[in-house]
């Protein structure tokens, strides 16, 4: 049953690791401001007969950076896709801040959200995809200003200026007029990161952002994301198979298996001394590859 509790009950992470992190490197292009937390409450997601998430509960504190790990099919990506409203919720409630993502208050209870509510809620969330998903019919600049101008209602000059700042941050100002197909995978992903940030999200979702990249391009993108994570107060949810990256970027790691959390804790603990057998097996399998 959906509860009408609010995010005021969201606990702080067990081990805040001295967060918020050093903000001296803060870039003007990065979003700042009050950051919401996230809470999953008995969330169920099925694909046909296949139950991907079974009554999942977990909380992410405002500004917390969480990495989701686990074998494929364990439901990690589904969590991100639910938060981005790319998949529909089957049961339970997802809270972003003190508002339910997939529901609208009606009377004492909650009713399914309409497109207007989803549009409102999506303003807080941004996502970077595994396959970049840049628009091939637009050049880099238009990819970056399309959302800010059409959705956020920025003036074109403003949007272009912000796009330049963001491109400067990701090191691709010289590619401003280029076409996505003329860029390497790493460059495309940098543009995609800039595009997500241009929408000024408070929550950023990273869905295996380096797994489609050639090995030599992975580190650059990871370094960029680590800098962004340190310099902003975004709430970050990250699905990755790169354990070094997970260690670098996150305050807390959640280990998933079969739609449920098997183990959670700070990265040092999960990667250093995991207590659960399934976590040990998984980490071993990852290292073996």
């Amino acid at each position: 049953m959906p509860s009408s509790d609010t995010m005021s009950e969201v606990p702080t992470p067990e081990d805040p690791q001295g967060a918020p992190m050093d903000k001296t490197a803060a870039d003007g292009a990065l979003p700042h401001g009050s950051t919401p937390g996230i809470r999953f409450e008995k969330v169920v997601k099925r694909f046909g007969d296949n139950i991907v998430l079974r009554e999942l509960n977990f909380t992410v504190a405002p500004g917390e950076r969480v990495t989701l790990i686990g074998p494929s099919g364990s439901g990690k990506t589904t969590i991100l896709r639910l938060l981005m409203t790319l998949e529909k919720l089957d049961d339970g409630v997802i809270w972003i801040g003190d508002r339910p993502l997939w529901h609208m208050p009606r009377g004492d209870g909650l009713a399914p959200a309409n497109e207007k509510h989803l549009h409102e809620m999506r303003k807080q969330v941004g996502m970077v995809f595994q396959q970049f998903n840049l628009f091939p019919n637009m050049n880099v600049l238009r990819n970056l200003i399309e959302g800010p101008v059409r959705v956020l209602g920025l003036s074109k000059d403003e949007a272009v200026e912000r796009a330049r700042e963001l491109l400067d941050m990701v090191g691709l100002v010289d590619k401003i007029d280029a076409h996505p197909t003329q860029l390497s995978g790493g460059q495309q992903q940098r543009v995609a990161i800039a595009r997500a940030l241009a929408m000024q999200p408070k929550v950023l979702l990273l869905d295996e952002v380096t797994s489609a990249l050639d090995p030599e391009l992975v580190v650059g993108v990871q370094d960029l994301l680590r800098d962004i994570a340190r310099a902003s107060d975004l709430t970050l949810l990250c699905v990755t198979h790169e354990m070094h990256f997970a260690k670098d970027i996150s305050d807390r790691v959640l280990m998933f298996d079969k739609g449920q959390i098997v183990e959670e804790g700070p990265p040092e603990q999960i990667f250093g001394e995991p207590t659960e057998q399934r976590t040990r097996d998984f980490l071993q399998a990852i290292l073996a590859t």
């Binding site: 941004g126 959705v151 003329q182």
Partner: protein
């Protein structure tokens, strides 16, 4: 032979054929986008309307439709000029094929592109007009090109309701010269030349549009079987979609 080739009848007829092709193509294009967009709508009722239009007018031969407009409807008080009956029948028929091309092409745009528009919080209208449609149009061009050639060929039926197109003039010329074989051979060549000219035009447009997406031009072999007279085989644009 020279009396056939020099006859002004055929040249006049060819002009009428091209006019008919143009008018019908414009009507078909409008109908194709209207019903194709309905067919790829999120709303079930809109898709049902699109579906009905396509199934009905694709299933009905243009000839039957044209005869019905021309011979049957006047009996219930609806009267068309011959030209209108011809253009309407051809436009409705080819609009249905075109609507399937529009729908199939929109469905052929990768889902990931749609997901990116959601992640950027675009409104449904913006998703369609700013991202999906601009990427779908280049996919539509090769099958549209095939349809245009098919349409040019199909216009020959209007001769049966006394519109003086190329085929009609050919019949006149045969009647006056008595040389059926020669007249129709010349007429076939004339249609062939018109089709080849259209073909060149289409190729040019295709190449331009491929450049918009930064892709290399595709080979014709892949699109040749787009089955423009077939009932909507859209193999050229990545299958029927759903």
């Amino acid at each position: 032979m020279s009396e056939i080739i020099n006859s002004p009848l055929l040249w006049k007829g060819a002009v009428v054929t091209l006019q008919l092709t143009l008018y019908s193509a414009v009507l078909a294009l409008i109908l194709a986008f209207f019903f194709g967009l309905l067919g790829s709508s999120r709303h079930g009722w809109a898709r049902a309307i699109g579906r009905f239009y396509v199934e009905f007018f694709r299933g009905l031969p243009a000839l039957v439709l044209m005869f019905w407009f021309f011979y049957s409807l006047p009996l219930v008080g609806i009267r068309f000029e011959t030209m209108v009956a011809g253009v309407l029948a051809l436009g409705l028929n080819y609009g249905a094929y075109g609507a399937e091309v529009v729908r199939g092409s929109i469905n052929a745009v990768p889902t990931a592109q749609y997901e990116a528009t959601v992640a950027l919080n675009m409104l449904p209208r913006q998703r369609m007009w700013r991202v999906l449609l601009p990427q779908a149009v280049p996919l539509m061009l090769p099958p549209f090109g095939n349809l245009l050639i098919e349409l040019l060929k199909a216009t020959a039926i209007v001769s049966l309701i006394t519109i003086s197109d190329l085929m009609f003039r050919a019949q006149q010329l045969r009647a006056s010269t008595g040389k059926g074989t020669e007249v129709f051979l010349v007429v076939l060549v004339m249609y062939f030349v018109m089709a080849q000219i259209l073909q060149l035009l289409i190729r040019y447009l295709e190449r331009r549009s491929e450049r918009i997406l930064g892709r290399r031009p595709r080979r014709r072999a892949a699109t040749a079987i787009a089955g423009t007279t077939g009932t909507g085989s859209l193999s050229g644009v990545g299958g029927e979609g759903s």
